[in-house]
Amino acid sequence: MAHWRGYELLQAVDVVAGYPGRPSVLHGVSIEVPTGGFVGILGPNGSGKTTLLRALAGVIRPARGHIRLDGHDLTPLSRQALARRMAVVAQETHLAFDYSVLEVVMMGRYPHLATFEIEGPEDFSIAREAMRATGTLQLQERQFDTLSGGEKQRVIVAAALAQISGAADDGILLLDEPTVALDLAYQLELGELLRERQRRVPLTIAVSTHDLNFAANLCRTLVLLKDGHVLAAGSTDDVLTSEHIRELYDVEADVTRHSPTGRVIVIPVRRSPARSQS
């Protein structure tokens, strides 16, 4: 870990947040995303994973509590400044018009451009580099809408990487349910891509997912969310236990290590009998 600054890179502090009609999806959630970390946010549907991700990204403002980036509250930051540090990969992206892959990736550079500025050669090379890293360079002239789900996802990741490239400080990548629309092969590929990228450049990643194995494989720290509360948070080994899974999902599961790869895997066995709310 880099030098301790007294605070983590990205933090949620006692965040209460929600939407008109559902004002407290999150009831006082605190999480830490350390620099260079790979955090997984797990929980059943309705636990508030997406809300938390949105709050971290600055898309929704907490009703109470704070989101801090580098120790400073997010609120006064301009959207553009924030976008240069943090990029979000949404679950699905639909384009209204036929942009090419290159055009989509280049849109990641917009936060770096002044009002009437046009992208320059440096933006272009950053985009190419991001596409190379995601294996999408050969797709650059293709129309985005014609790609497969996996290819589209990789292009969006490339755009996100291009968006946070060149920041003097560490860039943050947030991914919302990235594996939901992907084939198995692409799931593996995405995981590999993210891990590889983190090895090569300073990058902090937070993923919200309900794919336990995906999280177990990639994330070094986990946050378990249930009904808008943090059930448990910490290193994957510590947090991903049968007890926690039972509490979180009402499912009996085996958590073991897969000897050939050394990976932690979770095997759901059966549903737990209904329990009274804690």
Binding site: V59, R79, L95, E103, P111
Partner: protein, 335 residues
């Protein structure tokens, strides 16, 4: 390819610009009456006796400029509405602007409001106010339901307004006699015969404000096509961009309609043709559409004036005759 964006922009603007200039220069030369250009520009002949000059400078030139103004405003407003509503089939009239304008004009014509005001006739003023009213209602409705401007609510509100105003129009039409009804129908089909430069001068400030806003909106519109949240996480103040787009495009449409009536199909044919040629990047599509829109409407007006000479067809009939089949072809092609 992106390094070449600057070059593409230059190429696009010069190419379409040339087209627009060519259209504007040739249109005044053509008409139902034969005139001699040499005589028209002969300073020796006093203007009062120089019919060729009168026809050129009083009848044809303002008309050409009106066509260019209305065409460029409607085409670029179409692009902005399509970007805002994330729907390539949106037009400047989708959100009720033309229905409001039509109702205003209709009230003025049916009840014979006769006042003129800053050189602008009652029908024109009423149509502009009507379009603002319609747009205002749609905006208020869309705002009420959502923190920002929900595009779905916008669309629904717009379609509802169109239907409601159309019903009102039919109702008011009941009080109109046949000639008034005919006159309203002609107005609805567009009329560029302004015979003076005053309406152009009045519309100029609105044109400038709209175009400046559109220039600013080019990149935001690219981002908006990714979706509201995706645009937001890429650094766009989505609410501000949507508001700017909505207001500026509505003003542009209202100004165009008050000069030439609600000429249809420009706001959809031109953006589509332009996108086929230059691609979807709004930084190219917006200036190209403004220029091509000018050229297109001026061209349509030339046809309207000459095809059944000496009878003049309303320009909207020509744009419809071109636009209708084109639109059908688009729909068939997309499926």
């Amino acid at each position: 390819m992106t390094v070449a964006l600057a070059r593409r922009l230059t190429l696009t603007v010069s190419g379409f610009g040339l087209l627009a200039v060519a259209a504007i220069l040739t249109s005044p030369l053509v008409g139902s009456t034969h005139i001699s250009l040499r005589r028209a520009f002969d300073r020796a002949i006093p203007f009062a006796d120089n019919v060729d000059a009168q026809i050129f400078f009083i009848a044809r030139l303002p008309r050409t400029l009106a066509g260019a103004l209305v065409g460029s405003l409607l085409a670029s407003a179409g692009v902005v509405f399509q970007g805002l509503l994330r729907n390539p089939l949106a037009t400047p009239f989708t959100l009720g602007v033309s229905a409001g304008a039509a109702l205003g004009a209709m009230l003025a014509i049916t009840f014979s409001w006769s006042f003129a005001w800053a050189g602008v006739s009652a029908a024109v003023a009423a149509s502009f106010l009507g379009s603002l009213a319609a747009v205002g209602i749609v905006y208020a409705l869309a705002q009420a339901r959502h923190r920002g401007l929900s595009t779905n609510v916008l669309l629904l509100a717009g379609v509802t307004m169109n239907a409601f105003f159309s019903a009102l129009i039919l109702f008011v039409q009941y009080f109109a006699d046949f000639a008034q009804t005919y006159r309203i129908l002609r107005w609805l089909m567009g009329d560029l015969d302004i015979s003076s430069y005053q309406p152009l001068v009045s519309a100029l400030p609105l044109l400038i404000v709209s175009f400046v806003s559109f220039a600013w909106l080019a990149r935001p519109l690219n981002l908006l096509s990714l979706g509201d949240e995706s645009a937001e996480t890429r650094g766009l103040n989505v609410v501000r961009a949507q508001r700017t787009a909505f207001v500026s495009a509505s003003l542009a449409t209202g100004a165009a309609v008050s000069v030439g009536g609600p000429v249809g199909f420009i706001g959809i044919v031109v953006p589509h043709l332009v996108r086929l040629i230059v691609g979807p990047d709004h930084r190219l599509v917006l200036p190209a559409s403004a220029l091509f829109g000018a050229a297109f409407l001026v061209g349509c007006d030339v046809l309207a004036r000459t095809v059944m000479s000496p009878i003049e067809l309303p320009v909207g009939v020509i744009t419809a005759l071109i636009g209708g089949p084109f639109f059908l072809w688009l729909l068939v092609r997309k499926r």
